[in-house]
């Protein structure tokens, strides 16, 4: 792909939303970009990092979103425009800083947070609407519909941020972040040189004019609200808010973000353009009330189309209530009415379904006979459960955990965490994990369970986490465990990558976001320094890892650490590390689905590199998918899986 920093204003390129955000920030002349990997935003930072030197930008992977927000905030304080990027959960982590930064105000240079939510949780373990958080924090909020708009909004967001002296949120969703669309490039900033300096702006006698230290001063709160009012005025005339449709529509759709396209296209598909108008809001908090009120007066039916929470719905209904009795004839459709759900992803089809009810019209997407045949044929189609990759070391780790806990027999459990090992709660991880919350929560919850001895608690507790997660949130939890003498084992699954989100480097990998070498922050040394008993295991040495687990479990004393270290299979592929073994199944020895095996490898181990040949009644290796790790050969009860050293 051509460089994101190419100097070709006016050229049209195909960019995904995340890349467009990066381009927008570059065009806005940022000097600092900081983020922690989180789908669906993970591509923004590396895109910027790729041209960091050339564009004089400091681009870093921070250990967590709070630090990344603080890094971006500091840049703003010192007069450098900054971009902070996070997924929905990141706002939860960065909350305390943002709330306080809103009190202290920013520096001369603007700060923008690009936050992308994941409706439907395609790449998350929860659903959350970050707009409500933005409103809670008291920050201005913009929502982008597609890649082109995202780029433009990011640029404008800096102007707004500098005008009102607040962090501005630009919000997207997975469909925005990952959809590639035509983007017309803008001008690159003229000067690449940026000068950073921390100004002396503390004046005890003029606290509201002082900067950067929040405190128990309620007097900071009033100016904050005044800033929001200023933002509202700016938003009243923003060109990101647009109306398309008849002057007096029968139904007024109020929409924002990615739902804009769904709304417009639903109306087009139903050929209802003469009956339905679409008011697209690009600025959704604070609400441009005058603009909305103007449109409310043109109709009697209002239909809110937005992802997740009835955010705009609530703001507009609040507005409508305040305008009573002028608005008393309005009927509202949206989440409250049940026309759309406040959970799961929206789509054009869902909007069409809702409109069919509101407009009392029918719609047939396709020929009914075909529809019937198609639906019947789909009955043939098996579901594809998500799995860990062939060759994943976590599969070996969880196999050992399963056996060790079962042998121990005290109903031991795994407290899970976020990453590829999240799959521990399901088949791929043999249903070992019984809790899963936020990054680092596995260790936190394990702390809690491990302190319940006096209430008769004797179940072994294994907290599972990853190498990146360790630096992100687990370290304090381990300190807590050692200090409070909590009884649990922390298993760090160190595969040398932040794998789930796309193999971003972290403090343990020895590489920066820019690809330059970095100091390795030694995980093992840290755990020992904290005072924990630490063991190292190779996950594919099942005998040793199971033995170590059993030994540590029986120890039953305070916080213990086992580092299960083996490189992620996909990282190996990236680094062109060849497969260790060539595998095949001896059909003569394979017992298949008969007594003594019952398809242990395909049914329980479930590695994608294994196939079940229904006709032959035997397991087989899928040569395209097999990673040659040899794990299946170790667990086959008939010794039917053969491994040969690959040349």
């Amino acid at each position: 792909m051509a460089s994101i920093a190419m100097d070709k204003p006016g050229a049209t390129v195909l960019l995904m939303g995340n890349e467009a955000v990066a381009r927008g920030a570059i065009e806005a002349g940022i000097g600092v970009a900081a983020a922690y990997p989180g789908s669906p935003t993970s591509e923004v930072l590396p895109t910027i990092a790729g041209v960091a030197k050339e564009m004089n930008i400091h681009a870093e992977w921070s250990v967590n979103e709070k630090v990344s927000a603080e890094v971006a905030g500091a840049a703003s304080f010192a007069g450098i425009r900054s971009l902070c990027i996070m997924k929905q959960n990141g706002a939860n982590v960065a909350a305390d800083f943002i709330v306080n930064a809103n009190m202290t105000g920013l520096g001369e240079a603007g700060m923008v947070i690009f936050i992308s939510d994941d409706p439907g949780g395609m790449t998350s373990n929860n659903e959350e609407d970050s707009r409500t958080i933005t409103k809670w924090f008291d920050n201005p909020l913009l929502e982008a519909n597609n890649a082109q708009e995202a780029k433009e909004m990011i640029k404008w967001a800096y102007e707004v941020s500098e005008a009102v002296n607040l962090i501005v949120f630009v919000r997207g969703v997975t469909r925005l972040s990952y959809t590639r669309g035509n983007v017309v490039l803008g001008e690159l900033p003229e000067e690449k040189e940026k000068k950073a300096h921390f100004p002396d702006l503390w004046d005890m006698y003029n606290p509201t004019k002082s900067k950067f230290t929040s405190g128990p001063f309620p007097i900071f709160h009033k100016p904050l609200h005044e800033k929001l009012e200023k933002a509202r005025e700016i938003f009243e005339t923003s060109t990101f808010n647009r109306y398309m449709g008849p002057e007096h529509p029968e139904v007024l759709i109020i929409t924002c973000g990615a739902c804009t396209s769904y709304s417009i296209e639903a109306v087009e598909e139903l050929k209802a353009g003469d009956r339905v108008g679409v008011l697209k809001l690009g600025t959704t908090w604070p609400l441009p009330e005058k603009l909305v009120a103007k449109h409310l007066a043109t109709t009697t039916k209002v239909f809110f189309v937005e992802e997740m929470d009835p955010f705009v719905e609530r703001s507009v209904m609040e507005l409508a209530a305040s305008l009573l009795p002028a608005t008393s004839a309005l009927t509202f459709y949206g989440k409250r009415s049940g026309h759309l759900t406040p959970y799961n992803e929206q789509s054009t089809n869902l909007v069409i379904n809702a409109l069919m009810d509101i407009l009392a019209m029918t719609y047939q997407p396709r020929d009914l006979t075909y529809d019937k045949v198609a639906k019947e044929a789909v009955a043939l189609v098996p579901s594809r459960p998500i799995n860990m990759c062939a060759g994943c070391p976590h599969r070996a780790t969880f196999w050992a955990i399963k056996k060790a806990l079962k042998l121990d027999g005290r109903d031991g459990l795994v407290t899970g965490d976020i990453g590829c090992y999240s799959l521990a709660f399901a088949g791929p991880g043999f249903f070992q994990a019984r809790t899963m919350h936020a990054m680092g929560s596995g260790a936190g919850v394990a702390n809690g369970l491990g302190s319940l001895k006096q209430f008769g608690f004797d179940q072994p507790v294994l907290a599972v986490t990853g190498d990146s997660t360790f630096y992100h949130a687990v370290m304090p939890a381990l300190v807590n465990g050692v200090y409070n003498n909590s009884n649990f084992i922390l298993l760090i699954l160190d595969n040398s990558a932040t794998a789930m989100t796309g193999f971003q480097p972290h403090p343990g990998t020895g590489q920066l976001a820019t690809g330059d070498p970095a100091t390795v922050v030694d995980m093992e040394a840290i755990c020992r320094a904290m005072g924990a008993h630490v063991e190292l295991c190779e996950p594919f040495d099942l005998e040793h890892s199971t033995e170590t687990l059993l030994k540590m479990i029986k120890e039953d004393s305070g916080a213990r650490v086992i580092i299960m270290r083996h490189m992620c299979q996909l990282v190996k592929v990236k680094r062109k590390i060849p497969a260790k073994y060539k595998m095949h199944v001896d059909p003569e020895r394979c017992l298949g689905d008969t007594c003594g095996c019952d398809r242990l490898c395909t049914r329980i181990l479930g590695c994608p590199g294994l196939m079940w040949d229904t006709k032959a009644g035997r397991a087989a290796i899928d040569e395209v998918l097999c990673a040659g790790c040899g794990l299946c050969a170790d667990i086959c009860p008939a010794g039917a899986i053969i491994r040969e050293e690959a040349i």
Binding site: S39, V378, I386, C389, R603, L625
Partner: protein, 203 residues
Amino acid sequence: MGTKTLTKEPFNFIVAGVGGQGNVLLSAFVGMALVNEGFMVSVADTFGVSQRGGSVTSHIKISKEATYSSVTLEGKADVILGMEPVETLRALGEFGNPHVITIVNPRPVHPTGGVAYPDLEEVKKAIIKLSSQAKFVNATEEALKMGNPIYTNVILLGSLVGADVLPISKESMVPILEERFPGKVFDTNMKAFNKGLELIAMA
């Protein structure tokens, strides 16, 4: 600017496959070629977790006039490129219609965890029944002959271009491949691309 036109406005193209098969790269190539031809394109894939064995569907919506959302409406696919048979059928189930044209690589990828794979012949029959035209291209087979299953994507790309169902030509695709695969790698990939052209002509 290309001279190609769309047979429908907007036009819906779907690539159906399994995580790890390379939908993303393929749909990106097609998207870029279309942009070069002067179209407005919206391409969406599902990333991340889907790398690990789940179904992955890439939607490409093509228009001369506006940027649309990417996801195909129910029953509105115009062309489906199936990188895997069961995924092709899944896509036809939701997005198919009597006019859809389907190009399929008939190599099964087995679901994991003990789920049985249906009879391949039954799946192929269903695909044929649900398409106005269904063409089978043994891309993985040919890729393995070339020495690496990784060439499957580019072979399928060649077949897609050769089928002439999208407004992209070989000429618009070559510079994109050149940029992505420098040096010697480009030659092997062009070989794979041309193989794809060959295969679709015979299908």
